[in-house]
């Protein structure tokens, strides 16, 4: 509950700050939407350029892209600023402040990473899911909705775990420009249906490194064809989260400050 309250405060602050630069705010909202739409467009061009993805029709891929847009919007909105904030704090020597704040350092870092410019992307993604679901005649039962929310939540948990590992590594290694690219690449792989991979590759992204939780599994839930194996990803995402927090605690113990 406290975490939600902190997120609310950050959203309010960021909106107030963004509105100070009105022109920049409006243009960035639109540009951010265009930018986040780029990945679904890219996917669509790939899909059209080849004979499609195994097991996916055109309409289903459009739904997949709407989920992709919605997902991108959510994580950008909630955690879009986390990477920049931690890099800036560690590089410029402001990291010690994190330990002085009244909450757990991770709570403080993550509840200050809202990127309000992704708001329009969340709305566009949500509208996209509604429209495509209606066109596909998907019957949205309570069970489907709950399952969709469960997998989406676990996807967020897994994404947060990766961000925690990123933050922990930043505390240790300080300059992490290249790791940012790597994280973006991981997200790139997660934005394709895992049916593109065979054998171990598929199991890897479904269970071992469950990036399929972000878009593939929620899309499959809406389409009513979720694999049984997907349920294991819930467990691995939670395990990832626990390991990430332990890794963070370990790194923080090794951290020494030379602040005044």
């Amino acid at each position: 509950m406290r975490v939600i309250k902190l997120f609310g405060l950050d959203i309010k602050n960021k909106f107030q700050r963004a509105i100070e630069f009105r022109l920049n705010f409006i243009i960035t909202l639109i540009i951010s939407l265009c930018y986040n739409t780029a990945l679904p467009i890219f996917q669509f061009f790939i899909f059209k350029g080849i004979n499609g993805f195994p097991g996916w029709t055109v309409e289903e891929v459009i739904l997949f892209q709407a989920v992709l847009l919605f997902w991108t919007g959510i994580i950008e909105f909630l955690f879009g600023g986390v990477r920049n904030n931690i890099s800036k704090e560690v590089l410029h020597g402001g990291f010690d402040r994190v330990f002085l704040w009244p909450h757990h350092p991770l709570v403080s870092i993550f509840t200050r990473g809202v990127d309000v410019f992704a708001f329009l992307t969340v709305v566009a993604g949500f509208a996209g899911i509604m429209i495509v679901s209606f066109r596909l005649g998907i019957q949205m039962s309570w069970y489907t909705l709950l399952l969709f929310i469960l997998f989406l939540f676990c996807g967020i948990v897994f994404y947060v775990s990766l961000l925690i590992i990123y933050c922990a590594l930043t505390v240790l290694l300080i300059k992490m420009d290249r790791l940012q690219e790597v994280l973006d690449k991981i997200f790139f792989f997660g934005s394709f249906p895992v049916d593109l991979y065979h054998g171990f590759g598929k199991i890897f992204f479904l269970v071992i490194f469950p990036s399929a939780l972000w878009i593939h599994i929620p899309s499959k839930v809406l389409l009513g064809g979720v694999d049984e194996i997907s349920f294991y990803s819930v467990i691995t995402s939670l395990l990832f989260f626990m390991c990430a927090v332990l890794f963070w605690e370990y790194q923080v113990k090794k951290y020494t400050s030379s602040g005044g």
Binding site: F21, A38, G49, I50, F117, L179, E181, F189
Partner: protein, 267 residues
């Protein structure tokens, strides 16, 4: 030259301080290449084709793998760095230095890129070479790619510099940053090859100067251009030089106009 040498050695010391991050990138980028290989293998097998949109499987894998080379050799954050100086103060300190701001920023970037080429590009290129053997690649193609990448570096620097100087007018450059990402990922072809676009969009993109940043140089690396025909290379080279001159003219004009109206309230 002496200034450049000092900036270079200063930057070298800075990079060596963060060697852990460097080692991590040497490990993770090849891992990404492996996943690219797995993904595109699946796509090619499903389509039962030797080439997709003119790219063989190794060429496609290298196209996406080479994006890291773009970050090593061309990418810069000059706009962000200038914007931060403008927003949080510190720009007047830059003006007090005995050389022009453009020369200072460029020498810093050049030193950074020379180091990246030696300690990142070469090892990762060799690792890629063993992961996915590039049967299409030649030494000439590699040299042509590197020459065009140097020009791309200058072009991208001038673009970033102009964007940075615009902070004086716009204060906050968040939206220009997003535009930069769109330019690089879509118009320069860093997110995916331009061949994936519909014909009309492809023609428009090829008329714009941004494809020289990544798409055109990488075509030489992938052996998709007849590298024996130096006329093709020299055409690309000349056109890129013309665009660099255009961007240089824009950058100088924006800088001169901004400096004329610049006022600092120093302490």
């Amino acid at each position: 030259m002496s200034v450049f040498y000092h900036v270079f050695t200063h930057h070298l010391r800075q990079v060596l301080q963060y060697r852990g991050a460097l080692l991590l990138s040497l490990f993770l980028h090849p891992l990404i290449m492996v996943f690219h290989t797995l993904m595109f293998k699946g796509i090619y097998e499903y389509n039962h084709k030797q080439t997709l949109l003119g790219y063989t499987l190794p060429q496609m894998i290298w196209y996406f793998g080479s994006i890291h080379f773009f970050y090593y050799l061309v990418w810069n954050n000059i706009d962000k760095s200038i914007n931060e100086k403008v927003l949080y103060g510190g720009f007047e300190v830059q003006l007090l230095k005995p050389f022009s701001i453009m020369a200072w920023e460029f020498s810093q970037l050049a030193s950074q890129k020379i180091l990246s080429a030696i300690i990142e590009f070469v090892p990762v290129y060799l690792i890629y070479y063993f992961i996915c053997f590039p049967d299409f690649m030649s030494v000439t193609g590699l040299c042509q790619y590197l020459i065009l990448s140097v020009l791309a570096l200058i072009q991208f620097f001038l673009m970033g510099f102009t964007m940075g100087i615009l902070s004086f007018k716009l204060n906050n450059l968040t939206f220009l940053n997003s535009i930069k990402f769109i330019i690089v990922n879509i118009f320069a072809g860093a997110a995916f090859p331009i061949e994936f676009f519909p014909e009309i969009l492809k023609k428009i993109i090829l008329l714009l100067p941004f494809h020289y940043l990544y798409y055109t140089p990488v075509q030489f690396l992938l052996g998709k251009v007849n590298i024996g025909m130096w006329r093709v290379f020299s055409n690309c080279f000349m056109l890129q030089i013309i665009w660099i001159l255009v961007f240089f003219f824009i950058a100088r004009t924006v800088l001169n106009r901004t400096m004329k109206s610049y006022m600092s309230v120093g302490g």
